[in-house]
Amino acid sequence: MSDSQIAVEQHGPELLHHFVDAEQQRDAASLGMWLFLATEIMFFGGMFCAYLIYRYWYYNEFAAGSRSIDLKWGTINTAVLICSSLTVALGVRAAQMGKRKLLVVLLLLTIVFGLTFLGIKGLEWYTKFEEHHIPGHSFNASDLEKPPYSNGGIDQQHEQIFFSLYFAMTGLHALHMIIGVGMFIFLTYYAWKGRYSPKYYTPIEMGGLYWHFVDIVWIYLFPLLYLIDRKPLG
């Protein structure tokens, strides 16, 4: 019997033919996912670079813009994502222990948290729309020119740069969340169908890595966007 035949019999049909054994396949998947996350760090990183430079140039405008986004909802959303990371981590653990029903429940909870995050984000964006803080023709941030920024004054044009970055960064993050939720819907379906076991739960683990990464991006976005200047007034 060839090695690959033995491997297939021991590990089931998930073993792809070009791998020597299941361990090689799993190690390849893991390295592949970490490398992909590295590319995502650089992808978001470009926007962090733009943010860094413009915050350096236009601190007042960034501070004023940061104050105008709702700290309460931002903090709640951060907590929501942290809860979702917990359910993901527990889900991987459930898969490791072969607990199918628990795995499905945890994956569904993760999706619920993810959708909650997106819903809150949508509300925040809508508020910005109502306040005319969306860059473009109808942009008007004169409501930001109140203490403590009324002395220096806020350059309305520069303020647009803060909000451009706000929407670009949170928008790209939200897109990644949507993709994550979509991926987890598939994972939940296959988990329910019994595809995963202690011997093979690689997709759950890889999906988890992606989800945690998206959480980490938000962990940085939160202070950078919401906490620039929250000193009490007066």
Binding site: R26, A79, L86, Y220, P232
Partner: protein, 95 residues
């Protein structure tokens, strides 16, 4: 990647720490620390990120050195982009 099955208690503990740190960072932002506000916020964020990476993403328990190298390399490369770009912006007025 490890076969290590961590206890659920550990996950809950990390979860609590992350939530606490979130509240802390939001509260500390209201205190006037001058330029240190930003530094404190980023330090807390980095600590939170490390908790997620080391525990939720199992990097603390993996025997695979390559994983850690990939993470370090990516973070380093990002810092390279930020640092060398800022080298231009922070010295423009000096020219």
């Amino acid at each position: 990647m490890s076969e290590h099955i961590l206890s659920s208690k550990l996950y809950y503990a990390i979860w609590i720490m992350l939530l606490v740190l979130t509240v802390v960072t939001a509260l500390v932002a209201r205190v006037d620390l001058g330029p240190f506000n930003t530094i404190v916020a980023l330090v807390i964020a980095t600590f939170k990120a490390l908790l997620v990476v080391l525990f939720f993403m199992h990097v603390k328990y993996t025997s695979e050195k390559l994983t850690k190298m990939v993470i370090v390399a990516a973070v380093f490369w990002l810092l390279l982009l930020l640092a060398l770009s800022m080298a231009d912006y922070t010295t423009r007025l000096l020219s």
